[in-house]
């Protein structure tokens, strides 16, 4: 026992004169700026994707409807409700939040004697911490779900311009798995897809490397996976929840990946075969996407389906409108062949109204479904546009597919800013390259570049291929000298739509341009040809002021035996056509089975 050991401890008494270090008012102490306290949610930004719910290991989050939040495209209308009887304040929900709407305040006090109250919808129910500006927010430098797309391999412009080879190479297995991995399976896209394809489900099938399952899911809603995997307008990707912070998932390419991987001869083994024959007969006019889709689903139900097609081959606009470099014909044939395989009969080069009358079809078949599409070009009606060297894009494309010679004399001017304009411009560019070794094509359209209806990548690729794009100018006059075309005078367009959003272009006549041209191609829209419907039937049918057929939600016209769908109802879009073919098929099936 050392004496110093007795005395040293007594030095503790020196603390008597020191101030206590106690926090004076602990109840109002503010937590650190990064503190993970109670949740806040910006209801406007939130899209209710439910990713927070998916990552919560405590099942603390419920997705619930909130008053005042409408369900709409890209917004489920649900909002997270957090159960503080479960929450562990890990903040993973904040980290993964696809929109960044969910954050945490640095408030931490919630005391109650009723255990039932500890759950609330951040943002919707007022809480004292709603205004707290400090608290945990997702750090900028990392993310729990990759935001960058897997880059898609494409032919470079110099190569692809040489011919009509497909530009997009498609995903390899690794790439597809990597891209599929980015999906958070929220399912927001399903509602936006016109066909309501089971997108998260087939992406999951890719992840699980179970492509057969993926194929089955695709065919549930869409018998054109190869086509849609290439040329779909992918509305789904515009609402992809990941799009809020990064690149959307390449849903279209993933779909194509599934279809590409499975050889045609395996389809039959993977997919459902038709049910027992019902003996009912359905005639379909037009072997385009709508007609074929309707045919496929009707045939699956066991009905006899015959398609009447005017052109030599089935496919409609998919074949005669879309150039081969975007949609190779063998891929289209792969889809169509399977539809034929299950027993759909296609009578090509049979134009209804010319080779066979609608009345006789009505007599032979229980139901008729007309999906004749938009195959008539529309004119700009600019001065001089009736010149023979002014062509319609749809006609040129159709002729080109049929293998006919089409005019290509340089310089070419294409009028229009949509995908059809791009298609014809790029087709002609390839022709130019093949025939002349250079590209001399100018594309002009009313819309400025940011509102051009064409897909962004189309514009980029067109430029890469040497096409000059002059957006924001409207055609004023086609200048010609007899049979030879001189060029096109354009005028700057100030605005395309008026305040009500109606098409009503305004021009600034002080700013005009003259573009020299040998031929001009108009690609500003298409019209329909309903001449196959006899006047007697047309009279009974309800039509609107502009002569368009009126249908109900199931594409049934006022005549119970007559359905109409596809582009003639919805306007030009493959996926819409496929979707309403499917919808009509379901309804027709009901009627044929005598159900309501």
């Amino acid at each position: 026992m050392k004496i110093s050991d007795i005395l040293q401890p007594l030095t503790a008494w020196k603390n008597l004169v020191k101030d206590p270090i106690t926090i004076k008012d602990p109840l109002n102490r503010v937590a650190a700026p990064r503190y993970r306290g109670f949740h806040k949610n910006d209801l406007e930004t939130c899209i209710g994707c439910g990713t927070c719910e998916a990552i919560c290991q405590n099942a603390a989050i419920d997705m619930v409807p909130v008053e005042g939040i409408e369900t709409k495209d890209g917004d489920s209308g649900l909002r997270p409700r957090i159960d503080y009887g479960r929450c562990c304040w890990c903040g993973l929900c904040v980290d993964i939040c696809t929109t960044g709407s969910l954050t945490m305040s640095n408030a931490y006090q919630w005391i109650d004697n009723d255990p039932e109250v500890f759950r609330f919808i951040p943002g919707a129910e007022e809480k004292p911490w709603d205004t707290a500006d400090k608290g945990y927010k997702r750090p900028e430098n990392y993310t729990l779900n990759p935001l960058k797309r897997v880059s898609m391999e494409e032919l470079n412009p110099a190569d692809r311009i040489q011919g009509f080879m497909e530009i997009v190479k498609g995903f390899s297995r690794d790439q597809a798995l990597q891209e599929a991995d980015r999906c958070v399976s929220c399912g927001i896209c399903v509602a936006t897809c016109p066909a309501h394809m089971g997108i998260p489900a087939y992406i999951e099938a890719i992840r699980n490397d179970d492509l057969n399952q993926g194929m089955r899911i695709l065919y549930e809603t869409n018998p054109f996976p190869e086509v849609c995997g290439r040329v779909c307008t992918h509305k789904c990707e515009t609402v992809c929840s990941i799009f809020h912070r990064g690149d959307p998932v390449s849903i279209r390419w993933l779909k194509r990946y599934i279809a590409d991987q499975i050889p045609e001869h395996e389809y039959a083994a993977i997919l459902d075969s038709p049910q027992e024959e019902t003996g009912k007969k359905v005639a379909i006019i037009g072997a385009g996407p709508a007609g074929l889709s309707a045919a496929y689903y009707l045939r699956l139900q066991g009905h006899t389906v015959v398609i009447f097609e005017a052109q030599p081959e089935a496919g409609g606009m998919m074949r005669y409108g879309i150039p081969e470099y975007r949609l190779p014909y063998d891929q289209l044939d792969k889809d169509i062949k399977y539809i034929k395989h299950i027993g759909v009969k296609i009578r090509t080069e049979t134009r209804v109204g010319r080779d066979i009358s609608l009345e006789s079809l009505h007599k032979d078949f229980d139901i008729i479904y007309a999906a004749t599409g938009l195959h008539e070009g529309r004119s700009t009606r600019a001065k001089g546009s009736d010149h023979p060297k002014v062509y319609q894009a749809v006609n040129l494309l159709r002729d080109f597919t049929k293998g006919l010679e089409i005019p290509y004399e340089a310089p070419v001017i294409v009028i229009g800013g949509g995908n059809v304009a791009m298609d014809i411009a790029r087709t002609l560019a390839r022709l130019h390259m093949q025939k002349m070794g250079r590209v001399d094509i100018t594309l002009t359209c009313l819309e400025t570049e940011d509102i051009m209806p064409a897909d962004r990548e189309e514009i980029v690729e067109a430029r890469e291929e040497g096409i000059q794009i002059i957006p924001g100018y409207g055609p004023l006059e086609v200048v010609s000298n007899g049979d030879t075309l001189k060029g096109l005078k354009t005028v700057r367009c100030v605005s395309v739509f008026d305040e009500n959003g109606r098409f009503n272009p305004k021009f600034d006549h002080s700013d005009t341009q003259f573009l020299p041209a040998s031929i001009i191609v108009e690609a500003i829209g298409q019209g329909m040809d309903l001449s196959y419907i006899p006047e007697s039937i047309k009279k009974e049918m309800k039509t609107d002021a502009r002569g368009r057929i009126q249908v109900d939600a199931y594409y049934q016209t006022s005549l119970p035996w007559f359905f109409a769908g596809g582009d003639i109802i919805e306007g030009p879009d493959v996926i819409h056509a496929i979707a309403n073919g499917h919808t009509a098929a379901k309804r027709i099936d009901h009627i044929l089975r005598g159900e309501q």
Partner: protein, 178 residues
């Protein structure tokens, strides 16, 4: 580590050698030679520290994997010895004579997996659980969520919606366009 592989291979016909890192090796042995092998590792090769004993339930193959992790403090290396016992009759020789502390691990394995170690001290006494009446909880076929929900019934009043189905109900109720 190569000499360890060599010894285990020749003396105890070890298989499936897996070098995880420079200082971590996993090997599979037969249950029969395990105690001998561990003794050899301990006394001859210097793996004198028992890091842990644990089990993995490979229910698909109907096997329990028991892992013995040993450490050599002079070489600073670890060896993980795997043995497999059938799930239907999980009995393993006890190694509490080699390491006193092994008894604790074996007690836990007995309770949590139902693997028996005859002769291990207090192996049949409850260790962590009290009044447990179900199958041993760490077995894969024991569903903890189901058990918890049936026994402790979570607070009612919770209902969640799947965005995909909810949007379907709202936007296209019977499969048509809105």
């Amino acid at each position: 580590m190569d000499y360890v592989i060599q010894e285990l291979k020749t003396l105890f016909s070890g298989q499936n050698f897996e070098k995880k890192r420079g200082d971590l090796l996993f090997a599979t042995l037969d249950t029969g030679v395990l105690v001998q092998a561990l003794k050899h590792l301990r006394d001859m090769l210097g793996f004198r520290h028992l890091v842990l004993i644990t089990a993995v339930d490979w229910i698909e193959e109907d096997l329990f994997q028991i892992t013995y992790l040993l450490r050599n403090y002079t070489q600073k290396t670890d060896v993980g010895i795997r043995v497999f016992v059938p799930r239907s009759n999980p009995i393993m020789e006890s190694i509490h004579t080699l390491w006193e502390t092994a008894a604790t691990y074996q007690r836990e394995l007995h309770e949590m997996f139902g693997i028996d170690f005859p002769g291990s001290p207090r192996v049949n006494k409850p260790f962590i659980l009290e009044g447990w009446q179900e199958i041993p909880p760490y077995r894969r076929d024991f569903d903890t969520k189901k058990y918890a929900e049936e026994t402790y019934f979570p607070r009612p009043g919770r209902k969640t919606h799947d965005p995909e189905t909810y949007m379907k109900q709202k936007l296209y109720p019977d499969g048509t366009e809105s």
